[in-house]
Symmetry: C2
Subunit: 327 residues, 2 copies
């Protein structure tokens, strides 16, 4: 089995690649398949992926139709994680449209042209929701995205639905809550703060949180999101029913709750490195996001949320910081 | 004021053009504007539009980016009615994508490039709904389109929403119920039967109805849909709120009720020209369509439904058949 991951140098892409290589197989509707090839496509260089003869790292734009067509030609599974993130897509409309909308479309068309109905698993986002929200958001919620990124994710979902209905791909779209704790430097995702406020202090660095402590968030750990992408491959079209979108479950809390968990794992020293200075642009985007997700669909489909923030942070320290926190 | 109508040779396009020429002005958020130019773009030749120095008929594809850019360059208002209809878009996926998705996108980009925020009024469709439906469908209904045409209409709505939010256009999308009575020959819209079963018998021709008499339908007359497109121009962004989509109201009845109204207007002779022979493809598409629409949004915005089927049919005879029905 040949698996292509777009956005393969991204933090989820790299960790999904490691997991797939370690598992050595992927279970899909047609059975348990040995992974013989894994292609990681990204504009950035993928680092942290083990040397492995099965792995091929390709530098390039996931919105380049010729490139994706050549990579998809013999792929059995496509994980489409490449995206221009929320703030970046809001600031540069053309860039967001190019990668998030036209890129997805080019990839779907390339899959269709193979005539082999590849499994197509796409990252969607809670940014699809917006406007007045119900108490819990989910697949039955009418979507009123309030950012270009959110619009592009909605369009991607509808494309995957229709390409699946037509038999061009076997698609599924996972709507991700805020994924924590993202390693590396802060990025242009509006949700970047949720990782930074844990990661930076644990690494001994100061961080200015751009949203106030009472801000509610809905979190899913890196471990669980990787589990979810692997699990999504095993679902059957019948499991999925009329639509291919699945809202992943999340753990709802406030930023203040996260700071409490940070103190438990990193001690008081970590917390003293945090200050708060609300940024109007980030606050405006984040306040439109839902903070509770229905598990009516994700639960029976076998997707699981995390149990508590302390565990999420402890796992981050184990997985990304070699078990070491700054004193 | 220069108004562009794409699909300007279509039955709604021509009747909207006639109405605008007769009105001689259009009221928008900035006031009452004399109509100085009216451009009708269509692949087919527009017939039935009065000779008028203000009118320019352009033969061409609404999905041709260079053509639409040149036409939009100095347009103040764009009515985007051009579309590949439901059955045609289902049979020829590429054609539907080209016109319904890429064409809409090209037109929106052309409007954006003018830098003048044109008023952009698009025909959407009740085909955006699908799957298990609530008792009444409307703007708060989650959308699960079950045709490529429906998907393309959904994507168009989200594009118009985001292009409006970004200030590139001032958009509004009208979700049309089944419009009756369409003049001319039956076409590839799955809803074509709803017009044909009235029109053909009134013109003395037999018609084989592809859905059974108990099929529910939700209708809006040609007069009312033209009223609605004119009225939509007058609404303000504040009237519209978070989304630019509006479900137009409709009149719910069965095909059998329509046949009863046909008998009232056309006599028993008309009804004897009708036979029923269900077509599985049409029945499958039509049975997924909603038949009751919420007026929670359209009502306060000033859109009106028809009052009864007899009047719709009588208006058709007056407007399209010179008041004459076949004996």
């Amino acid at each position: 089995m040949h698996i292509l991951i777009t956005g393969g140098a991204g933090f989820i892409g790299v960790r999904l690649a490691r997991r797939l290589l370690a598992d050595n197989h992927l279970t899909t509707v047609t059975g348990r398949h040995p992974i013989t090839r894994l292609t990681l496509l990204d504009q950035a260089a993928a680092t942290g992926v083990p040397e492995d003869p099965r792995v091929r790292i390709v530098a390039g734009n996931a919105a380049d139709p010729d490139l994706v067509a050549s990579l998809v030609a013999d792929a059995d599974v496509v994980y489409h994680l490449a995206a221009v993130v929320s703030v970046a897509a809001e600031r540069d409309f053309d860039l967001g449209m190019s990668v998030n909308l036209h890129g997805t479309l080019a990839l779907l068309e390339a899959c269709r042209k193979t005539g082999r109905k590849p499994l197509f698993i796409k990252a969607s986002s809670a940014a699809v929701y917006g406007g007045p929200l119900p108490a819990e958001c989910g697949e039955e919620t009418a979507l009123f995205p309030q950012t270009s990124y959110g619009m592009q994710k909605v369009v991607g979902e509808y494309l995957v639905d229709d390409f699946s209905r037509k038999g061009f791909v076997d698609g599924r779209c996972l709507r991700l809550p805020t994924i924590v704790v993202r390693p590396g430097a802060p990025n242009m995702a509006a949700s970047s703060f949720a990782s930074s406020l844990v990661r930076e202090p644990l690494m001994g660095k100061p961080f200015v949180c751009p949203v106030p402590p009472e801000t509610p968030v809905c979190l899913l750990s890196v471990r669980r999101v990787v589990d979810s992408f692997v699990h999504a491959a095993s679902l059957t079209p019948k499991d999925l029913g009329q639509s291919r979108a699945i809202q992943l479950p999340g753990l709802t809390m406030t930023v203040a709750d996260m700071v409490g968990a940070l103190a438990e794992v990193g001690g008081k020293a970590a917390v003293t490195r945090l200050t708060f200075s609300p940024n109007a642009e980030i606050v405006a985007i984040v306040k439109g996001w839902p903070v509770r997700f229905s598990t009516k669909r994700s639960g029976p489909l076998g997707f699981r949320a995390d149990t508590n923030a302390r565990q999420i942070i402890a796992d981050f320290v184990a997985d990304e910081l070699d078990g070491e926190v700054a004193p």
